[in-house]
């Protein structure tokens, strides 16, 4: 299609087309939004069996050298120095004034740190990290690696016989192993709320690996559409939509990602704002929303107090196939942020009754 001509492709572009993937533009890449089964079926299959996602558009890199963990802490409030070998953690990259520059995953691979960042931010993220590195610490971009996500309650039974080292991991564990001779770095993590792995492999082996995983019992391809509805049911933020440079970790309810030691030392970018907000609270806070009935409220929908003033807006919203109803997340005034508080969503000029609701909307089922 004409609109995808100037886009980048992942190493699996040919496979997506062969599988009937409907390609759309996402973060500069042509990516499959869905396959012929459709978003609903793909979503439900991930919750009941297992789905395979191509997330090769995301940025992968290694940070090597003496003091790499301390160096990375110059741009994130996560505790990187306490991260044990073989473990991965979620973190935020921060702006100087306390906004969220990006969110990312970082793993300790013993002699190096392994990073995965958002596709839309990878060039900026890597430049930011490089800008704070001391002599002797180097960021190595890994553009020649693909990233596959195998997600769902059936993932472990499917991959176990091929890669026992992966089923030996607990949630947020990471290991290097081989799958049928293909060297991979895989962490027991994901973006769906389900058990599963994110598997990094050399680009030249990506298609062979994907075909091998798709041939496992119960595994079906799943596209970006299902990835989005799954992550929203799981209450997980999408960078650029739910969090951005104007959003602080406290507003976004992501303070759990700030290390305890870091909260004593206050030595990260934006620490002043975070400290002040933790002490005094923020005007607005990220919450879950459950509209009554079946009508979804999408991003940018205004949120009103019942019959009254504007108290916030929706950042992500849609229909949860596993939830069987509409769901959204957004920011509201702290005075209206308690679970169960009735609010109105202004959809096409009409108020839609909804309530503040706890997230995740669908319980996480990680392998803890």
């Amino acid at each position: 299609m004409a609109e995808t001509e100037s886009l980048l492709e992942t190493p699996l572009a040919g496979l997506h087309r062969a599988l009937g993937g409907r390609m759309v533009a996402f973060a500069g890449y042509a990516m499959p939004v869905q396959y012929p089964a459709g978003i609903m079926a793909e979503h439900l299959h991930v919750r009941s069996a297992a789905g395979l996602f191509d997330v090769s558009h995301m940025g992968q890199a290694e940070l090597v050298g003496e003091g790499a963990a301390a160096a990375l802490e110059r741009v994130t409030p996560a505790d990187i120095q306490a991260l044990k070998p073989g473990r991965q953690r979620y973190g935020l990259l921060m702006t100087q004034d306390g906004g969220i520059f990006d969110d990312f995953m970082v793993a300790n691979r013993g002699d190096r740190l392994f990073l995965v960042v958002n596709a839309s931010r990878k060039h900026d993220d890597f430049a930011l990290i490089e800008s704070v590195l001391p002599a002797g610490v180097t960021l190595r971009r890994l553009p020649d690696r693909a990233l596959l996500a195998l997600q769902g309650p059936g993932a472990a039974a499917a991959i176990g016989p091929l890669a026992p080292a992966l089923t030996a991991l607990s949630f947020m564990g990471i290991a290097e192993t081989e799958i049928e001779g293909i060297p991979v770095i895989a962490s027991r993590s994901g973006y769906t709320g389900e058990d599963g792995w994110e598997i990094s492999a050399p680009a030249e082996s990506a298609e062979a690996l994907a075909k091998l995983l798709l041939a496992l019992p119960g595994v079906q391809p799943a596209g970006l559409g299902a990835r989005d509805s799954l992550r929203l049911e799981a209450g997980l933020c999408l960078y650029g939509t739910d969090i951005d440079e104007a959003t602080s970790p406290v507003e976004a309810a992501l303070t759990w990602s700030i290390g305890k030691r870091r909260r004593m030392e206050w030595d990260f970018p934006g620490a002043e704002r975070v400290r002040e907000e933790l002490a005094n609270g923020t005007a607005r806070v990220r919450v879950g929303l459950r509209p009554e009935g079946r009508q979804p409220a999408r991003g940018e929908t205004m949120i009103h107090a019942p019959g009254g003033e504007t108290i916030g807006s929706v950042t992500s919203g849609g229909f949860g196939p596993s939830l069987g109803g509409p769901m959204a997340m957004g920011y509201v005034a702290r005075s209206h942020a308690t679970d169960g508080t009735p609010i109105e969503l202004i959809v096409r000029g009409r108020p839609l009754a909804a309530r503040i609701a706890p997230m995740p909307f669908v319980p996480h089922r990680y392998a803890r």
Partner: protein
């Protein structure tokens, strides 16, 4: 059964006696994906040709549905409220949206026939 006529908004129109039944095409439902909600117009409402009068929401996005002809809404398909998936399963049958009593019966004849619509869809690909 009278033949279907089509619009550039990927809707179909079937003239049945005094009223015209209207829905979205198979091409449109396929592009939308799984439909989870429809917002239908009020019965009795006078509508203009091209006016957005209904909304169809898939898992992914919301889309407007337009009145292909001017007239009065005489019936809406309330079965869609409980089972919006009808639009995906039977877009030109049980998945119809609403019926319009045309203010000008000849306005239907002016719409595209099946081969003209097929050519239009190909030109959009």
């Amino acid at each position: 059964m009278p033949e279907l006529k089509y619009t550039q908004d990927h809707e179909w129109v079937r003239a049945d006696g005094d009223a015209a039944t209207i829905g979205i095409t198979d091409h449109a439902q396929n592009a939308l994906g799984d439909v989870v909600f429809v917002d239908l117009p009020e019965v009795g409402r006078e509508v203009a040709a091209g006016e957005a009068i209904a909304v169809v929401e898939s898992v992914k996005a919301a889309s407007d549905v337009y009145a292909p002809i001017a007239g009065r809404i005489v019936e809406v398909n309330s079965a869609l409220t409980d089972d919006p998936g009808l639009i995906n399963r039977e877009p030109t049958g049980e998945g119809w949206f609403f019926k319009i009593e045309p203010s000008d019966a000849s306005s239907i004849a002016a719409l595209m026939d099946e081969s003209a619509y097929a050519a239009f869809v190909d030109s959009q690909a």
